[in-house]
């Protein structure tokens, strides 16, 4: 069997796998652009995936599931912002707390609602483009693309416009660079931090909903499998910009899609699984010295102690 590096099915798989990554990475951009590091993205994605699946199951409407995932993501964002901004606590500690909370609460609720620790019942999934095959060139790629992917791509464009072509976007970015200077210019720094983190985490919830009811039609235990962290890596590789996040996610998505395609070769599957993670490490090792995040990223905003 030959290893294929490019085919319509690999491109389709790349876009599908990249969708939760770029949505999550965009969520990371909104967090870190106001200086809040969020390693809890993975847990928020997991919560979004769970909420979307069970809401879709109970309401029999996949879009209600998406809406619920956005709300739960936003609420977890409020928690993260309250801990980091309100309580001035360590961002990474808060993120890890959210991850542990998400993985235990989802299993607890699965057991309570369905008496099953492993997975939810099947739920309606988001629709996908059909009959796009007749469009020249892009047709085969667009065919079967989830509506949620299209929403995600639109959000990338809107976020880019918002961050770089509006006054509010400029202010938002200034908060992450130097909140004290921003505050002295009369920008409501805390409000920006809260709202941007909530928006970013809602996006992570959206990313999660794609995992459960975009790609599949079911929630399974710990189904994110570290995608929230891969999204963070994509955010860094994409230099904290929406289009960069998209490009980096497509790259990681391609590596993951290729890896799945290469299963069944003479190389043992377990060893092939290692390739994407090693690739991410190598890429980060190579770019981390050159890229620079927002200057106040990960620091605690404490105006009274700052002289």
């Amino acid at each position: 069997m030959m290893v294929t590096f490019l085919s319509v099915s690999i491109i389709q798989a790349t876009i599908s796998i990249a969708t939760p990554l770029f949505m999550g990475a965009l969520g990371g951009v909104f967090n870190e652009r106001v200086g809040i590091v969020n390693v809890g993205l993975d847990g928020i994605m997991l919560s979004g995936a769970f909420t979307a699946a069970i809401t879709s199951y109970y309401t029999q409407s996949a879009w209600m599931g998406v809406l619920a995932a956005l709300i739960v993501g936003g609420l977890l964002g409020l928690l993260h912002a309250a801990i980091c901004v309100g309580f001035k606590a360590d961002h990474v500690v808060s993120g890890v707390a959210i991850n542990i909370l998400a993985s235990s609460v989802t299993v607890f609720l699965l057991q309570l609602l369905f008496h099953n620790k492993g997975q939810s019942p099947f739920a309606p999934k988001i629709g996908q483009l059909s009959n796009a095959g007749s469009i020249p060139i892009l047709g085969p790629i667009l065919n079967n693309m989830s509506y949620l992917t299209i929403v995600g791509l639109a959000l990338i464009v809107i976020s880019h416009f918002f961050l770089y072509h509006t006054k509010m976007g400029l202010r938002l970015r200034s908060v992450g660079e130097n909140p004290y200077a921003a505050q002295s210019l009369g920008i409501p720094v805390r409000k920006y931090m809260y709202l941007s983190v909530i928006a970013g985490c809602a996006l992570a919830g959206l990313a999660g909903s794609f995992l459960s009811i975009g790609m599949l039609n079911i929630f399974t235990k710990n189904m994110t499998a570290g995608r929230g962290y891969i999204a963070l890596a994509a955010m860094i590789l994409g230099r904290w910009t929406p289009f960069g996040a998209l490009g980096a996610s497509l790259f990681f998505g391609y590596v993951l899609a290729w890896q799945m395609n290469a299963q069944g070769l003479t190389i043992p599957a377990q060893l092939v699984e290692i390739i994407p993670y090693i690739t991410i490490l190598l890429v980060l090792a190579f770019v981390s010295k050159r890229v620079r995040g927002p200057a106040h990223d990960g620091k605690i905003f404490a105006p009274s102690e700052h002289q």
Binding site: V39, L79, I83, G86, F87, K88, A89, D90, V92, V93, S94, V96, A97, I98, N99, I100, L101, S103, S104, V105, V107, F108, Q111, L112, K117, A225, G226, Y229, L232, A233, I236, P268, Q270, L271, E273, I274, Y277, I278, I280, L281, L284, A285, F286, S288, K289, S304
Partner: protein
């Protein structure tokens, strides 16, 4: 102990106690929401965790990986690193201990166990070289690099288990280790084993290292303020690398205890997330080697007790995991507790 030291001690443990109480309170609300009696549930939990010697043994058995893991986390945290890769370091340590356990034969038990433990520590040590170097050479944040290496560790150990050292059975597993490599049980038939005592000794050793040696002092100064450390002539990058490597080695030992003391072999994906929960234990124990011990026992008791409780009242045993998660959320907000408690006690403003 004089008054000021007592006050200092109380000040250290108060936020942890408050976090636990707040978590239990929210847990009670959850139990009420399910329609059960919280007092009855908590009583069943306590009975299940500490009711008789065998439940004590089970609680301590469950606490053992958390002591190791908490120590692994804190040694890195004290140097300013957030090692979220203990899980991966534990997996490579667990399989290294298994390989030594089933590859060597006819050697004295003490030697066999020691060699297996050394192999496990070495495997964890090697596993953390990459994140340590990436951190100091390229500036890659250790949270991302160690997470990526966790996935590499899962896949690598799965490969070794399924393809290389595979023994047929109900689960993917390696060969059994020789009986000479088994960590002796302390309260048979419970699986509590000598690894628990090893964890306690390690906690004391790390306490002495951190607070009574110049190396420990350098490590703590680097963690608090790397540039101040530089002025004092401390080579902070070297300290950071060493702290990460020690952390990995302890993570390896954590895996060895499970292999040599509980399963007697390596079992693929045996961990329910010990390495991640250990972070919560370390934070609850205020990143203090001696604080880790009661924190780990509490977590062992929550899991053991919740499991016993689920047989008596209609509350899923995952409540124990939720309580653990809530504790860490409240610990995350610790700064808030400290500031507000202080202002409440002293009656002045923040």
């Amino acid at each position: 102990m004089n008054i000021s030291r007592l006050k200092f001690f109380l000040w250290q443990v108060l936020p942890s106690i408050l976090a636990v109480l707040c978590a239990l309170l929210i847990g009670a609300v959850i139990i009420l929401a399910i329609g059960e009696n919280p007092l009855q549930a908590y009583a069943a939990m306590f009975q299940g965790a500490f009711g008789d010697p065998s439940s004590w043994a089970e609680t301590l058995q469950r606490a053992t990986p958390y002591i190791f893991g908490g120590l692994a986390f804190l040694i890195a945290a004290r140097a300013g690193l957030f090692n979220i890769g203990i899980e991966g370091q534990m997996y490579v340590g667990a399989i290294a201990a298994a390989i030594v356990g089933f590859s060597l034969h006819h050697i004295p038990s003490f030697l066999h166990v020691t060699l297996a433990l050394i192999a496990a520590a070495f495997a964890g040590y090697v596993w953390s070289i990459v994140p340590a170097l990436l951190k100091v050479k390229s500036g890659v944040h250790e949270v991302i690099s160690t997470i990526m290496l966790n996935y590499v560790a899962y896949a690598l150990t799965a490969y070794l288990t399924v393809r290389v050292f595979h023994e047929p059975g109900a689960v993917a597993q390696t060969y059994k280790v020789d009986s000479s490599a088994i960590l002796p049980a302390l309260m048979s038939p419970n699986k509590l084993n000598a690894g628990f005592l090893l964890a306690l000794l390690l906690a004391i050793a790390i306490y002495v290292f951190l607070f009574h040696t110049p190396w420990g002092y350098n490590l703590r100064v680097t963690g608090i303020n790397p540039s101040a450390g530089l002025y004092a002539g401390i080579k902070s990058t070297r300290v950071v690398v060493w702290a990460m490597l020690m952390s990995g080695a302890i993570g390896g030992l954590m895996g060895a205890e499970r292999t040599l003391g509980i399963y007697g072999r390596f079992i693929n994906s045996f961990s329910p997330g010990y390495g991640f929960t250990a972070i919560a234990v370390a934070l609850l124990g205020q990143n203090h080697p001696l604080g880790i011990i009661p924190a780990a026992i509490l977590f062992g008791a929550l899991e053991n007790g919740a499991s016993a409780m689920s047989f008596q009242v209609n509350v899923p045993r995952e409540l124990g995991l939720i309580l653990e998660a809530l504790i860490i959320v409240f610990i995350a907000a610790e700064h808030f507790f400290r500031v507000h408690l202080r202002s409440m006690i002293k009656g002045d403003k923040e």
